[in-house]
Symmetry: C2
Subunit: 174 residues, 2 copies
């Protein structure tokens, strides 16, 4: 039997990303599950952020952001960066995360995350309580350790996570 479970807006599950931003000398990190791959040419990823969030302000100012892919061992970092505002705390410092120099844009990568995707904002679309940032991918950085010699990714080492409704999942190859 099918039944209604209310009008929820979420997928089952969502990816989890740590988005770093930088504007006017201030760097920040926000955890987002509302992110999506949206275009294959030009290559684009979207993230949804409420206007009240500090990262919204920084990314709107700089028109760029980095999608840092966390691993299973970084769930506590994800929880912290999702619950605390960069207006009150320097999250890089608080969490002992290392700023790594980006390749193309000016926003620091999170060195401890194995994949870091540099994006330039192409558009900001007002949808409702969230704004949709469309980011064009301009560079993808990866830790050497997670790449096989043939260029493929070792997903066991990458060890990604997903998220739904306060719960985190590890992703296991099938």
């Amino acid at each position: 039997m099918k039944k209604s479970i209310g009008i929820h807006e979420r997928l089952y599950p969502n990816p989890v990303v740590l988005v770093s931003s930088s504007f006017d000398g201030i760097d920040n990190i926000i955890t987002l599950a509302w992110a999506g791959t949206v275009c294959g040419g030009p290559k684009m990823i979207s993230v949804s952020i409420r206007p009240s969030r500090f990262s919204h302000q920084l990314i709107s100012g700089s028109r760029e952001f980095v999608i840092n892919i966390p691993t299973k061992s970084q769930v506590d970092i994800c929880k912290y960066c999702g619950k605390n505002s960069g207006r009150n705390v320097n999250k890089f410092k608080k969490l002992n995360l290392t700023k790594h120099i980006p390749s193309v844009i000016n926003t620091p990568l999170i060195k401890e995350c194995p994949i870091n995707i540099e994006c330039r904002v192409k558009d900001i679309i007002k949808l409702g309580v969230h704004d949709l940032f469309i980011g064009e991918v301009v560079y993808v950085n990866s830790d050497e350790e997670i790449i096989y010699e043939d260029g493929d990714i070792d997903y066991e080492k990458l060890d990604t996570i997903s998220y739904c409704m306060g719960k985190y999942f590890k992703n296991v190859l099938i």
Copy 2:
């Protein structure tokens, strides 16, 4: 050490959804990994589809679609619906999938999928080789079996999957 792995557009990993569509008496299913949760109010989910796909034509015509959440046991269905066009085959019939009556819109749900999210198209945004369909969630149907008495979801029974670069992952609670 960080190194470039080329300019890829993808998240690690993406969700996997079976999107059903219906227009002019024809029903279809397409597998998509390029889907995202995009707004919490009004509640919205996006999917990216190339204009050449048959589902693009159907959803553009009907202005509605259903996001059906597949389980680990349905990976072969996902592979089939991602590789074959509804122009050449009736996928519901070919895969012995059951059309379930929707609650609000006119597009059939895939009964065998435990969660079915009915969406009306709010906007179609041309990004490049993909168009981004912004869908407002108007009803969420769920199998009774995956819901606890308190309304929470039993994620072990839901048994969702994720996708990246041709590889499927099962999602395990951590």
